[in-house]
Amino acid sequence: MNRRDFLKLGAVSSTALAATSLTATLTGCSDTVEPNGQWKILTPSDGVMLAAIAPVMLKGSLPTDAKSQKAAIATILNTIDMGLDKFDPHNLKQVRDLFNVLNFGVARGLTTGVWSKWEDASEADIEQFLQRWRNSSVSLFNLGYNGLNKLLAASWYGQPQAWPKAGYPGPLHPDVLITK
């Protein structure tokens, strides 16, 4: 894909991004229903989307066996939810807009290139989407990539489970200084 195609895609996509956000608000289609009590901010759709993106965003770092990976992703999602709960309204709205775009069919397809449901999307599709948003000439997509990237990376590398692979032995003098 050359730069001109990218720009064209960008123009279509950012319009789609804005339109979706608006449509979602107008039609009440945005996924802001109270979740089941497990999370304060994340909706079940957010959970499916983030759980699909996490193994690609964090490829090579998460545990490889299916059961442990699932548990690690559950921990990441819980951490993200706790983090988002600290956000002020402006910051939270930006995340909500981002998640809404990623959650709804046509907007998701146009902006990410992932047309299938998140749970059915292939690793290659998701990797392509991340590259596309990271490298896009539309700054809104760069921002969206940064948001997903920071949330997932911070929520994973904050877990002691992630530390050995990062060569981090953990805090010093834990026996004396850790009191929790």
């Binding site: 090579g60 770092s61 706790m82 600290k86 910051n91 590398y157 904050g158 692979k165 990062a166 200084l177």
Partner: protein
Amino acid sequence: MAIPDIFKQRAQAENWDITNAGTLAQHATIEADVIIIGTGAGGGVSAETLSQAGLKVVMIEEGGLFTSDNFNMDELQAYGDLYQEGAARASKDGAIAIFQGRAVGGTTVVNWTSSFRTPNSTLEHWSKHHAVKGASPAEMTPYFEQMEKRLNVEKWAMPPNANNDILKKGCEANDWSWAVIPRNVSGCWDLGYCGTGCPTNAKQSMLVTTVPEALKNGASLYYRCSADRIVFSEHKAEAVECLALGADGKTPTGVKLTFKAPHIVLSGGAINNPGLLMRSNAPDPHNRIGKRTTIHPVNATLAKMPETVNPFYGAPQSIYSDHFQWNTDGDIGFKLEVPPLQPTMGAQIVGFHGMQLTQTMEDLPNSQSTIALLRDGFHEDSQGGTIELVDGKPVLDYPITDYLWHGFRKAFHVMAELQFAAGAKSVYPLHHDATFYSNLKECKAAIDQLPYELHRQRIMTAHLMGGCTMGEDQRESVVDSQSRFHHADNLYVIDGSLFPTSIGANPQLSIYGLALKQSTQLAATIKQSK
């Protein structure tokens, strides 16, 4: 509990008056001689000074009360408990990450202890260009000296950790000036976890110094108590209406607390002070509230070193260079320092994903990061940002001008030169269109080619200044040189939001010194009027 939690022990032994507003069931009105909103560098020092003068002081803090028993060197816990918006505060457009404290003790609980006096050039600039009176280097010196003594500020006497030593080596190899950073610590264990709350009480933050002293002097502290609105009459601030916050530190419980005093001091910092004044419809005929918010915008490079660095251990900042700070040929000046890299901070600044992120993180023990802190607010093309309210909460709109982009590019060049000169195997300027480059020539060529655009380059700040700037000209400032609000006789602002420009150095000692001067004068004014 091997380390005594001195705050808890003294609170009990000295019967301090501390209230978690979130536990109150009834509305209440509280009266005092002085109300101080905020308990960070500005509020802490003011509380100590005013309580020492025999005045009944009430301190109001929106954040929680966390003390050394709560500080477990755990990034996620600390970011959630001790930082604004869980350490995810950002500028309005999302382009700048903002690290700012939110707890009893304010940002001093989580800062990296670097303690610089306000540079003379900065003080002289304020006098010359911003009509600030009484803050010349000679007039400020005694206050800096007193605060340095109070907070045990001394040049770090131990060897720098490897992370800082690389900064020193890089400067020496290039024949650039560098120096040792003075730190406000007493009995420091050289751990490296200043940013997650000092677990040994070595850091002389407001949490273990001035706030306890004020409490000992009979001051009261209300935490999880969010200042919602100042009630103004003709020329006076009559009261501060506060909302009690529940256990989540965020949701109002419905209980309202009204604080009344003849004198009210705002010490909530450069984002929250303007926010409170705007919510209160404070008089602002010249539209100055929330203007000139400066932030020392930061960019960074990441180097892979041949040796083990372990950038997560050891006093986080002990070496700096001002080689590019003042003689800049019209470009923006910057200070060079290093950040500590614990894994959460490390992972979220690199801007990679997938195997590239994993591999970069696998090299964490051999990684060194250098940061440039741009000295904003000194040039017509760098006027700082503006605070706005969104749903009643303050948000910083900060434009990155071409002048700043030029500064970032220059800083990338300098940091790459520094790291390669110190022996780096490869250097990565934190930017979407860059990667690790294995020699200086290639890296510099790439730096020149980078598109300098929002959201492609990592930009951060941990220094929030301005927004309630001081000066004698009412058309240009919010308060006068003695911190008195131009449009209400008994309302004062005492903290970093006073600064008409950025400092050109980590700001805590600048805040301490100025707060001591302003609060000492305020104490005298109040006693005279009694």
